[in-house]
Symmetry: C2
Subunit: 244 residues, 2 copies
Amino acid sequence: MKRIELIGVEGLPEVKPGDDLGELISAHSTLQPGDVLVVAQKVVSKSEGRVVRLEDVIAGDDALRIAAHLIATPDPRMVQVVLDESVRVLRSERVLITETRQGYVCANAGVDHSNTGAGVLTLLPTDPDASARRLWDRLRELTGVVVGVIVSDTFGRPWRLGIVNVALGVAGLPAAIDLRGTPDDAGQPLHATVLAVADDIAASAGLVMGKTARTPAVIVRGLELKGSGTGQDLIRPSAEDLFR
Amino acid sequence: MKRIELIGVEGLPEVKPGDDLGELISAHSTLQPGDVLVVAQKVVSKSEGRVVRLEDVIAGDDALRIAAHLIATPDPRMVQVVLDESVRVLRSERVLITETRQGYVCANAGVDHSNTGAGVLTLLPTDPDASARRLWDRLRELTGVVVGVIVSDTFGRPWRLGIVNVALGVAGLPAAIDLRGTPDDAGQPLHATVLAVADDIAASAGLVMGKTARTPAVIVRGLELKGSGTGQDLIRPSAEDLFR
C-alpha cells in the first residue's frame, strides 16, 4: 500500500538576509534519502535579501493610476514594486495580475507584505530554480543526504477561488511526469497526460504550512520519484498560452 | 510537529454502474474519525452510470467542425459528448475548453476515455457535491466513522503546464479556509488569503493516485479541519471571472 508522509519543519527562528537557510533547516529536521523538502518562498526570499522597504520606493505615474483601480487601493509604492518585478501587465482592474520576470503569471508578481513586518515587502527569488539548487547542494553538504528541493508559493487561479501552493523552483526531482503514450490500465495510450507532480507536492506541503503557522518547510517522504527537472518545466510558454 | 499521512486505498475491483462504492472502499480500507477520503471522479462516475458508448453518439455539425481544429483530431462523437456536457465553449482551437454544466472550466468538460475500456467515455458526475455527500453518508452508515469526502479530478491550468488534482465534490470538510482579517505572525491582517484547502488535499492525494495505478482513493489523515463546505465554494462565479 502506497503511503506518503508530510512532516512539518518547525522551530526555525525568524529568517534574515544572509542567513544560511540550509543550516537552519538541517538543524531542525532529520532528512532521509529520497525525501523532498518543500520550502516556502518567503523564507528563501528573506535569506537571499529579496526584501524591499516601502520607504525606499517612489511610486511613478503608472503605479499611482493602477493603485486607484485596485480593490482596497493598495499603497502605490507596493504597485510600483510589482511593476518593477513584471514584464507585462495582464490585468489591472480590481486585481493586479502580471507576468513576472521569471515567467510566472500571478497576482502582484508574488510581492507580499504578510509575515514580513510593517513596511517591508518580500519579492520572489530572482531565479527560484537556482535557489532550489543551492539549497539542494547545501543540504547535501551539511547532512550527506540527497533530497529533492521545491521552493513554493501560493498562487490564485483564474477559474477557481482560493490560493494553492505551487512549485516555483525545483531541484533533484522531476517537476513534470510525462505519461503520454504509456498505456492505461485497459491498454489504451494515455493522451495529454503530463502530471505536474512538483505542483501536487507543493500543494500537499501547503496542508502542513498553513498560512500563519510558523512552518516554513515540509518534508514529503515516500514519493519514490526518479529523474530531475526544473520549475521552468511547469511554466506554459507565452506562445502556447491560451489567454495571454 | 504537524504530520499528515496519505494512504492509498487499493485492491478494489473494476467499478461498474450500480456498484456500491462506499461498500467497496470500506472493505478495502480502515477509516478513522477525522480522515478525509479523496475518491477519483472516474470510479464515482462509473458507479453512477455516467458513462457513454461512442457507438450510441451521433456527431452534429458543430462537433465535426470543432474536431477538425483540435490537436490529434479526436473522434467527433467525443466532441459531441463534450458539447452536450457544456454550457459554453471558451476555446476550440487546438484544445477544447468549455464551461461545464456543473460550472467548471476545464478541457473536454472532464469527459475522458482513459482507463474506461475501448469506445467508452466517462462523464463528470452530474452533481459532484451530491456524490460526495452520498458517499459520506454511506461510509458513516457502513463503518460508524465520520470522515470528510472529496471527489477529485485532474485539471489543467491556463498558465502552467501539466495537470493537477482538484476537488470537484466536497462533503464533511471545508473547501476553502478564509483567513482574511486574521493577523499574520507580525500582527498585520492577512489580505486576500482564502486557502483552497480542498484543492490542496486533492492534489496531495494525486501523489498517491498517480494516473495509471489502480489507486482510486486515498485516505488523508491528520488534517484537523473544522467546519464544512462544498465544491461549489471553489468555483469562481463567471461574473468575477478575469478571463471568461
